[in-house]
């Protein structure tokens, strides 16, 4: 039996030479150490061994077992290291190949502009309120001091719907909607889409976004000076602190005094160029002190309350901010155009 054991050891150690493959090692392990392997077999035959020799044979079996296990461990370790070393060479990849496409979209530039404007206005204390696109004559015109048949209405051609309704021509209906529900002090902005029967062209669209803002308090509290302050701050926050802002007298039926607000041309900085028609200025929004007739229309006493209102076009402002010249690009959704705004940083 001792010889048999020595033979098992010799054979195993021979097979566990330096060149042994993982398969050979596994074969030896199963044959010698396995559940029905050679050493197990020997242990099963132990009763045949004379009692006094048994301890020695047992020790020998353990010794051989340990020796082979250690040898296998060493070999396996070697093999793993070899495999690892080989992989360092063989598993080389071309790291310049592109990665797999993990999808990532981006926001429309007009959304980016609008959200930026609203963020600024919210930070200045304005509250955002949604108001309807489908309106009646009173909220879009009558209450805003556009009498029926008045030529001022021609400033705003209108889409009419069946059923005596219309599509709002401006977000100024927001003033009326909010004032009907609430009492001053108010600091509100109403974003939303407006509609006018203009073809989709470089400069116009039958649908466009506007943001209406207004601030109302007791008479004497909110003045035209505040209108100037608020809009100057807002425009500098949006277009950059170097922008100059000017207020030019104008006319809107629902404000008095009314002003158009210009900023220094973003392209030439005010020295005059093709885009600003050599004037150095670009018209950016309309504003004014809310007309007493508008306050009366919602049941406010103009002796008691006063405030300002302003309105600006979202696409138009985005065009200026982004240096885009054609309104149609915003509604065509050409990916090659939209892609350029993927960082979301163009308007921040």
């Amino acid at each position: 039996m001792r010889e048999q054991l020595e033979q098992i050891r010799a054979q195993a150690l021979e097979q566990l030479g330096d060149a042994a493959t993982p398969e050979q090692i596994e074969a030896v392990r199963v044959r010698v150490l396995g559940r029905s392997g050679e050493l197990t077999e020997i242990m099963r035959r132990m009763p045949e061994v004379p009692r006094e020799e048994r301890p020695a044979i047992g020790r020998l079996v353990n010794e051989i077992k340990t020796q082979i296990e250690e040898r296998i461990a060493v070999l396996s370790e070697q093999l793993k290291r070899l495999a690892m070393e080989r992989s360092l060479v063989e598993a080389r990849i071309d790291v310049t190949l592109p990665g797999l496409n993990v999808p990532r979209g981006w926001l429309h530039p007009v959304t980016q502009s609008r959200e930026r404007m609203l963020d600024i206005l919210e930070s200045m204390g304005f509250e955002v309120v949604e108001t309807p696109d489908i309106e009646d004559d009173f909220h879009n015109f009558g209450a805003l001091n556009f009498p029926p048949d008045h030529p001022a209405r021609e400033m705003q051609d209108t889409f009419f719907l069946f059923g005596g309704l219309l599509l709002r021509t401006h977000t100024s209906n927001g003033q009326i909607r909010v004032m009907e529900q609430r009492k001053p002090p108010l600091a509100i902005v109403c974003p939303g889409n407006c509609y006018r029967p203009d073809e989709l062209t470089v400069r116009s669209s039958p649908m466009f976004g506007q943001i209406e803002g207004f601030m109302i308090d007791r008479a004497g509290v909110i003045t035209m000076a505040h209108l100037k302050g608020v809009l100057t701050e807002f425009l500098r926050a949006f277009f950059g602190p170097e922008s100059a802002v000017r207020f030019r007298a104008s006319f809107f039926p629902f404000t008095e005094p009314s002003a158009e607000v210009d900023i220094s041309c973003l392209l030439c900085g005010g020295s005059g160029c093709r885009v600003c028609k050599q004037s150095g200025w670009t018209e950016i929004l309309g504003a004014g002190m809310i007309h007493p007739n508008v306050l009366r229309a919602v049941g406010y006493d103009p002796e008691e309350y006063q405030g300002f209102a302003f309105g600006m076009g979202v696409e138009r402002t985005a065009l200026l901010k982004l240096g885009v010249e054609d309104m149609r690009l915003f509604f065509e959704n050409d990916l090659r155009f939209l892609r350029q705004f993927r960082s979301g940083e163009a308007v921040s």
């Binding site: 797999l100 496409n101 073809e199 005094p257």
Partner: protein, 822 residues
């Protein structure tokens, strides 16, 4: 309103440069949109008198003319014009002159390129220069004869000086409240007020008209039957008229202002309107019967032919000017064919009236007939300017057409103007503006506008002038002071704010989250128009969530659409997304994954509703593509994955999907469409585009769409409050469950059934395999679920898990009539 600077300067002397005038007008609310320079198209042309005209010895149609151009010399020229005659004043181009339009108008139009005029021998006679037609001087297209000048032209005067060149034309965008600025005088008044200089209105002289009627040859009456529409009507008859072209200076001015010259009578009425803003009309006196002018409503009158030859349908409330028998004009808008001034006219009735603005506006809009007159009446002319306008026209007609008054001046004013009195508190003015403008400045500005001002210490009493109907209350005056002082003079201040937290708009915040989720899923945001073709609304009818389900809705229709393609408001965002897909596929794109958040518009029982929606489209390679690595393509389950990512991101649990009712989504593949709902409310639809639509749009791959109602989504998102649980301390045990069910039964139903079982220790159930084929009986499928068991307070024993799992098996079998697959 086009304003030639040379004309403007007749009424106001201002030192400032043209650009400065434009800038100040623009800042004060009269925006100068364009400034056009007018320069002569010639050099070396002079006013000259023709001294003598002889027949050309060798040509019947040519004349030899001696001309005297004063300081510019004398010359003998050959001239072919039929109108040349001794004594006339005309334009003489001397040798060396250049004409941009060229001789006979054959020039290039460029003065630089024009060859200098040379002395020439014409049919054997030397010609030292030439006499010019208007065409040759670039003044008009008239080449019938040479220029004829008024007797006030001075021989030797350079012709550009005579024409007041160089000149500039200011094109001013006059706002609807400033009817008073629709005249040269009105703009001059603004300039005077802005620069603080004196205004010189045209002085009318040389007309003698009796209001009493002694030298009257022609007597007539004016009867105003609609005094509420016509506050004043003045008229004057004139005779001895010779209808002829107007002199060059007048035609030039009309043309610089954008009007066409016709004949001296019509031109004078237009000229006075441009000059002082009072529209006038001249009727051929022969055509007025019954010696009577009646201002009345159309009443029974159905139709009327205006002088442009168009028959106009009338409404009973339209205001007409009629004689005893028939209508002669649509008041304030256009005269009639039946009484217009023609070449043979020798006497006219001049009308100068004040018509009610809104009535004129209503009729003009309905007839879609806007004239220069109606444009001014609509905006409100000078309430007291009628007689002045009439006299100015009479004066000019006398000078230009030899006209003489032949009636007394009739001036009927059934409703005399009320003087307006406005009390303006200085404190009010400054509290609106947030400024401190002194009382002297306020008074000065208002006076420049023509208002009468009585000054108190704190309050001004202001009487606005008759030509400013827009000034009625203190706010109107505040605006005047603000714009004339300059808005730049008002300080800029920030309002005082309490240190309040900004109020957050929940809907906006929610949409922001949603947009970020969509972007994170690879979706690009697009924007499409809310207008749509009726056919698209029929194909994509959208849905309206109602209690316990959904219904179809009627679209909102536009009465006056831009085109038939944009005649309805969208019921769904999907057609817009499909358009965007097609647009991009036509332009190099092979894949398109996009979304839009916007409103859809429905009419339910006649009441319009606006609903915010999220819609998405996914087409072509979607994700994980690379070199030697095929991309995951867009399909129902990639899109559903995006949708579920959104639900997860908004912490919305329990959204249930079921096959979509085909009536709800006829545009989706009937076997690949689902409707989904939460808490019993319809949330939206998802599916692959119907193969018929795929064909119609010529698509190569399947296209997946979904549309979600945002109000419903937000309701459930905002309810998803977080309850914090500690991570489990004891391990879970998984037991799988493979069920054989009828292949018709949806896997989602199997899963939901097991999930809803009330078995203690059952923590979660997940679906991990659905299998049909080998070893599965026909008509059945295997659905494999992973059930997870856990107790909060201990590690479960095998025995406990087995007991629970057996309960699950038992209950599942009975509820689904499923067999256990072993």
């Amino acid at each position: 309103m086009k304003v030639p600077l040379s004309w403007l300067r007749e009424f106001v002397t201002v030192d400032a440069a043209t650009e400065e005038i434009c800038r100040r007008l623009t800042m004060a609310g009269l925006e100068v949109e364009t400034l056009t320079r007018v320069v002569p198209g010639f050099t070396d042309v002079f006013v000259a008198r023709v001294l003598k005209v002889e027949r050309h010895p060798n040509a019947d149609r040519l004349s030899l003319c001696d001309v005297d151009a004063g300081n510019a010399g004398r010359a003998r020229v050959v001239c072919g014009a039929p109108n040349v005659r001794a004594g006339m004043l005309t334009a003489f181009a001397r040798v060396g002159a250049r004409l941009a339009s060229g001789v006979h108008g054959h020039g290039s139009g460029s003065l630089e390129e024009a060859e200098p005029l040379q002395a020439a021998v014409i049919r054997g006679v030397q010609s030292e220069g030439m006499l010019c037609s208007e065409l040759e001087l670039g003044l008009s297209s008239d080449h019938q004869g040479i220029v004829e000048l008024d007797s006030d032209a001075k021989p030797g005067e350079p012709f550009q000086t005579y024409l007041k060149l160089p000149d500039a034309v200011l094109d001013i965008a006059v706002t609807p409240n400033r009817g008073d600025c629709l005249s040269i005088l009105g703009v001059a008044r603004e300039v005077a007020a802005l620069f603080g200089c004196k205004l010189r209105p045209p002085k009318i002289k040389g007309v003698r008209i009796s209001r009493e009627g002694s030298p009257s040859e022609f007597s007539f009456d004016v009867e105003i039957r609609a005094p509420e529409l016509c506050a004043r009507y003045a008229a004057l008859a004139m005779n001895h008229i010779t209808v002829a072209p107007s002199p060059l200076w007048m035609r030039r001015r009309l043309e610089l202002c954008g009007m066409r010259a016709l004949n001296n009578v019509v031109d004078v009425t237009n000229y006075v309107m441009l000059e002082i803003g009072q529209p006038l009309h001249a009727f051929d006196l022969r055509q007025i019967s019954g010696q009577r002018i009646i201002v009345r409503r159309a009443g029974e009158e159905r139709e009327f032919e205006t002088l442009d030859g168009t028959r106009r349908a009338l409404q009973p409330d339209d205001l007409l000017i009629a004689d005893a028998e028939r209508p002669l004009a649509i008041a304030g808008i256009m005269g009639g064919r039946n009484s217009e001034v023609v070449a043979s006219t020798q006497s006219v009735l001049l009308e100068s009236a004040y018509f009610e603005p809104l009535s004129i506006a209503r009729t003009a809009r309905r007839l879609n007939l806007r004239s220069e007159a109606s444009y001014r009446f609509e905006r409100g002319i000078d309430r007291a300017g009628q007689v002045n306008g009439l006299l100015r026209a009479a004066e000019l007609l006398g000078a230009l057409a030899g006209a003489k008054p032949t009636s007394r001046l009739l001036d009927v004013e059934p409703r005399p103007a009320q003087e307006r009195r406005i009390e303006l508190k200085l404190s009010y003015l400054n509290s609106v503006l947030g400024a401190s403008i002194p009382v002297t400045e306020v008074r000065k500005r208002l006076k420049f506008l023509g208002a009468r001002v009585e000054t108190g210490t704190r309050t001004l009493v202001v009487f606005p002038p008759s030509f400013r109907p827009d000034l009625n209350e203190p706010a109107d005056l505040v605006e005047e002071v603000a714009r004339l002082t300059g808005l730049a003079e008002i300080p800029a201040r920030l309002p005082r704010r309490e240190a309040a937290v900004a109020i957050v708009h929940e809907e906006r915040r929610f949409e922001k989250r949603l947009r970020e989720l969509m972007v994170g899923c690879g979706m690009v945001e697009v924007k499409t128009l809310a207008f749509i073709a009726a056919a698209d609304n029929q194909r994509f009818p959208g849905f309206v969530s109602i209690e316990g389900g959904a219904t179809r809705a009627e679209p909102a229709r536009v009465i006056n659409p831009l085109t038939a393609e944009l005649s309805e408001m969208r019921l769904s965002l999907l057609p817009g997304l499909l358009n965007a897909l097609r647009f991009n596929l036509n332009r190099e794109a092979t894949a398109f994954h996009a979304f839009e958040i916007g409103k859809v518009f429905t009419t339910v029982e006649g009441i319009p509703r606006e609903q915010r929606r999220l819609a998405a489209i996914s087409y072509g390679d979607y994700a994980m593509g690379g070199v030697d690595h095929p991309a995951v393509k867009a399909g129902f389950f990639t899109a559903k994955g995006i949708l579920e990512t959104c639900f997860r991101g908004l912490a919305i649990e329990e959204v249930s999907f079921e096959p979509a009712a085909p009536s709800l989504a006829p545009y989706l593949h009937p076997g690949r469409a689902a409707q989904f709902s939460v808490g019993g409310s319809m949330l939206g639809l998802i599916g692959e585009l119907h193969p018929a639509e795929v064909l119609r749009l010529d698509l190569e791959h399947p296209c997946v769409l979904f549309e979600v109602d945002l109000a419903t989504l937000m309701t459930y998102a905002s309810r998803a409050a977080v309850t914090v649980n500690l991570p489990p301390r004891f391990p879970a045990v998984r037991r799988d469950l493979a069920l054989l069910v009828d292949s018709e039964i949806a896997a989602g139903l199997v899963l939901a059934t097991v999930q809803k079982l009330d078995v203690e220790l059952l923590e979660s159930v997940e679906l991990f395999d659905v299998y049909q084929g080998e070893s599965i009986p026909l008509g059945k499928k295997s659905v494999a679920l992973a059930c997870r068991y856990r107790a909060k307070d201990r590690t479960l024993t095998d025995e406990e898990v087995n007991r629970a799992h057996n309960l699950v098996i038992e209950q599942t079998r009975s509820r689904l009539r499923a067999e256990l697959r072993l």
